[in-house]
């Protein structure tokens, strides 16, 4: 089966079961949302899937290939990109360099090719234009505002050209006007055929953007389905939205 | 058999001294994220002050603590406020290595300038005195050093874990702005933290001088073993460092029987590498060395 599938994923930290025997299938080619109360294990789930932490148990497959416990960069090479809850950019590299760092070099010989190949730089500038910060191309990332860094990180994730994109709270701390802009971009990219998996607490964003919603509670999914259905689910109301 | 027991006793005593010498490092390193290369240089400075004190007054070197401990505290505050505080927070850890390296050079140079390179040893009437313990000899000077270590470490542990100052210090180092907003005078606290570290160096240096010769470049000899101790113990954990110091001290002394002095010294580094491979957060709690 196409896309990302997770079965029986478990991860504990000391006594805390952050992810507890979670089995989830995401709709490939769609915009999926992952919601759930604070501490329900969403970020840990992301970390397990993308190889940032090793799960204790469970299997992660991507296009039917087992990627469980592989190195983060290998999973990135499979075509899975991600952003971080607290946005992370390379502070002392300029915006363009931030994107160039995401270009996959391929073989060793190609790794020694100049980083500023015209084709790459052009693509980087195009991406910056798409997220609306092309005028900041030569500014070091640490001099950008929080929202701009957020956009830069998104562009960096896209630069690596992933097929499946995991975003951890892309709207957190971002100005509402900008959120709409990110939403438009996500839809465009989805139309190009990319799959999204978005963790978000902003229900407006979740409801307006996603095709499929998975709700987490205490480390495992408790409901999933189209946004309207999930929103009305009593379990979800009790655990997350508050009745 | 008696050799093993004797070595065990010596190892414990030595481990205690190691723990004392490393105590300050735990403080700067674990709590304040400063790699203080100059700590052992200050140990040697304190040892020289104790020596000078005894040679000039004829009194017991322990009495010099009355002067050196407050002096070092003030010195520590000064080093923190005038030097370390000026480093950019983003590169603090890295740059502190170089800055304190520079401080170490200055201290060593000044010691050489003032005291010359001559090896010194405090003349003590009781340097050879000993007690008998189940057939093993325990040198009085080593016992005193051990006692100093216990008192200092317990005091430090209590201070950090229990008192308001300890809480404020840890908070300051973990998030300075937030600590200021909660009413902590962060400049003062950070300065005091450094002062405290150096105050332990005053005690450690004096303990060291009781049973060893001293010379200006001696501090290079100590940097490696002390660093190994705090990594094995888990960065930032006073208790961890103490346990690690004891184990390493005993281990070194026992290994010395079959291996000889030189190879036994490599035990520290073997333990260091093993720790990093097996348990980067140290064996006794503390911060994850991997991320630091």
């Amino acid at each position: 089966m196409k896309g990302l599938r997770v079965a029986g994923l478990t991860k504990s930290f000391g006594g805390v079961r952050a992810v507890d025997d979670a089995s989830v299938t995401f709709q490939h080619g769609r915009i999926n949302a992952l919601i759930g109360p604070n501490g329900s294990g969403k970020t840990t789930f992301f970390n397990c899937v993308t190889g940032m932490v090793k799960p204790d148990a469970g299997i992660v497959t991507y296009h039917d290939r087992d990627i469980t416990g592989r190195g983060a960069h290998k999973i990135a090479h499979e075509g899975i990109g991600r952003s971080f809850q607290l946005c992370r950019v390379f502070p002392r590299l300029t915006a363009v360099e931030n994107l160039l760092a995401a270009v996959r070099p391929g073989s060793i010989v190609r790794a020694l090719a100049p980083a500023r190949l015209k084709s790459d730089v052009d693509r980087a500038l195009e991406l910056l234009t798409r997220v609306g910060i092309e005028h900041l191309a030569d500014v070091e990332a640490r001099d950008l505002s929080y929202g701009q860094q957020k956009l830069l990180e998104l562009a960096g994730v896209l630069m690596a050209d992933p097929e499946t994109i995991l975003l951890d709270e892309p709207a957190g701390g971002v100005n509402p006007a900008l959120i709409e802009r990110i939403g438009v971009l996500v839809r465009e990219l989805n139309a190009e055929g990319r799959t999204f998996l978005i963790v978000e607490h902003n229900m407006d964003v979740v409801m307006s953007l996603s095709d499929h919603v998975v709700v987490f509670d205490r480390g495992r999914p408790i409901a999933e389905g189209p946004p309207d259905v999930v929103r009305a689910d009593p379990l979800v109301l009790a655990a997350y939205l508050g009745g | 058999m008696s050799l093993v027991f004797q070595s065990l006793v010596l190892g414990v005593l030595m481990g205690g001294l190691y723990a004392l010498l490393a105590a300050g490092l735990t403080l700067y390193f674990g709590v304040m994220r400063v790699v203080m290369i100059a700590h052992s240089a200050f140990l040697v400075l304190a040892a020289y002050l104790a020596w000078t004190f005894t040679v000039h007054t004829g009194l017991d070197p322990m009495l010099s603590l009355l002067v050196t401990v407050p002096l070092f505290f003030v010195l520590g505050v000064a080093v923190q406020r005038l030097l370390v505080a000026r480093l950019r927070p983003a590169t603090l850890t890295m740059m502190s290595v170089l800055l304190t390296f520079a401080v170490a050079l200055v201290v060593e140079g000044m010691l050489g300038f003032v005291f010359s390179g001559t090896h010194r040893r405090i003349p003590l009437s009781y340097s050879g005195a000993r007690l008998e313990l189940f057939g093993a000899s325990v040198a009085l000077v080593k016992l005193i050093a051990f006692g100093l270590a216990v008192v200092t470490l317990v005091g430090l542990h209590v201070l950090l874990k229990v008192t308001r100052f300890g809480q404020a210090l840890r908070a300051t180092m973990q998030h300075r702005e937030a600590a200021r907003l909660l009413g902590v005078d962060t400049d003062r606290v950070a300065g005091f933290g450094f002062g405290l570290g150096l105050a332990t160096a005053a005690v450690g240096g004096t303990a060291l001088a009781l049973d060893s010769t001293i010379y200006p470049s001696l501090h290079w000899h100590w940097i490696g073993p002390l660093m190994a101790i705090i990594v094995v113990g888990g960065l930032g954990s006073v208790a961890g460092a103490a346990v690690a110091a004891l184990l390493l001290g005993v281990g070194q002394n026992l290994l010395q029987i079959p291996l000889g002095t030189t190879w036994a010294q490599t035990f520290f580094y073997a333990a260091l590498f093993l720790t990093l491979i097996l348990r980067p957060q140290g064996f006794f709690g503390g911060r994850l060395a991997q991320r630091f």
Binding site: - | G128, S137, S212
Partner: protein, 385 residues
């Protein structure tokens, strides 16, 4: 960094300029300064007495910071930039080897006061001469003889050795060990420790546990002090205790807490020796410094004497290869009278004498061996410390 333009240069009536690099700072700074005092006293003495070849001598002393890289650079500088006429050696085997290499490359005579280890002499230097009575290996020769000559009943049966990992210090202990082992004294402990060792507790524990009859330290200075204190802390009482170099240091008794009685040490020099030039030296030095010279000063003075003898015999003192060759050749073929006795060398520069053995007797360090030079009887077994 253009070097100073060449001044002085060869020949002429100007002063004879002698270049030296010494460890005035760093690990060897203490003995290094002693050697400096010796060199300076020698130069003053020569100048007061009409100079060398009728010319005044002038020392250029550089500090090599006890660092092997620096010592080579220093001789490079002395020979090329400062254009000295002659060079004298530095202190310590560790520094002598790299320094001698530079001197050899420029064809200079290299007489040195403190490179006693065997290694110095098997590097193929033909320009090097050690200005002291014996190489490290031979320092304990008289003691070995004395022990071997003891009656079976009282002769020590077992020996413990601890030596610093340093070519010189190890050489002294090994020299004695080989001779005693051959004579049937069992080696029960044989420890080598790194130069920066400060804790001798466990080494001492091993020695004490072995209950060896005698203990021998291949030591420099601080290590002997620490080792002795550690042995005392374990209440180990050998019949004989010998340590190289440390006990001759004037600060030694105070450093180990005055428990010196019976401790032995080899020495290449005693102010009381009645060699012709020695009295002159001791008087002159005592007048200048208010204290009698020790071994370091004497070795330096000896170096001066050796070079002076060669210069006087060859009638030249300039950096030209011809002159330096003449000096070297002369020393290879002749004996020189010095404050440490008559010296002559084999082709590798090894002196052919032996060291005296001193012992603390009645609170003072006295010569006890060889019999013809002794000031006091060898005390054996030694009293408790």
């Amino acid at each position: 960094f253009g070097g100073r333009p060449a001044e002085g240069g060869s020949g002429g009536d100007g002063p004879i300029r002698i270049g030296v690099s010494l460890p005035l700072t760093g690990d060897f700074s203490e003995p290094g300064k002693g050697v400096q005092r010796g060199y300076e006293a020698w130069a003053k003495h020569v100048n007061d007495n009409g100079g060398l070849l009728g010319r005044q001598v002038e020392l250029t002393v550089l500090d090599d910071q006890s660092n092997a890289d620096r010592v080579a650079a220093d001789y490079e500088k002395l020979i090329n930039s400062d254009r000295v006429d002659l060079v004298f050696g530095p202190f310590s085997t560790r520094l002598v080897i790299p320094a001698a290499q530079v001197a050899r490359d420029y064809g200079f005579l290299f007489v040195e006061p403190a490179g006693a280890a065997a290694e110095v002499f098997n590097q193929g230097f033909d320009n090097l001469f050690y200005a002291a009575p014996a190489v490290a290996q031979d320092h304990y020769d008289y003691l070995a003889e004395a022990i071997i000559a003891m009656p079976e009943a009282t002769r020590p049966q077992t020996a413990a050795y601890a030596a610093m990992d340093d070519p010189f210090a190890q050489g002294t202990a090994n020299g004695l060990k080989e001779k005693l082992a051959k004579a049937g004294v069992r080696t029960v402990v044989d420890e080598v420790y790194p130069p920066n060792t400060t804790d001798f507790g466990s080494i001492a524990a091993k020695i004490a546990d072995s209950r060896a009859d005698i203990v021998v330290g291949g030591t420099q200075y601080q290590d002997a002090v620490n080792l002795i204190v550690a042995l005392r802390q374990l209440n180990y009482q050998p019949k004989l205790a010998a340590f190289s170099t440390a006990p001759t240091n004037p600060e030694f008794p105070e450093a180990i807490g005055a428990q010196t009685e019976g401790i032995l040490s080899p020495t290449g020099y005693t102010p009381k020796a009645d060699y012709p030039s020695n009295k002159e030296f001791v008087d002159f030095y005592t007048r200048e410094h208010g204290a009698a010279p020790t071994e370091d000063e004497a070795n330096a003075w000896t170096t001066g004497q050796v070079v002076a003898a060669a210069v006087n015999a060859s009638g030249c003192a300039d950096p030209s290869p011809e002159c330096q060759r003449k000096l070297i050749d002369w020393l290879h073929g002749n004996e020189v009278q010095t404050v440490v006795g008559p010296l002559k060398w084999d082709s590798a520069g090894r002196p052919q004498g032996a060291h005296l053995i001193q012992q603390y007797v009645g609170g003072e360090i006295r010569i006890v061996l060889p019999a013809d030079a002794k000031e006091a009887e060898l005390v054996y077994p030694k009293p408790a410390w």
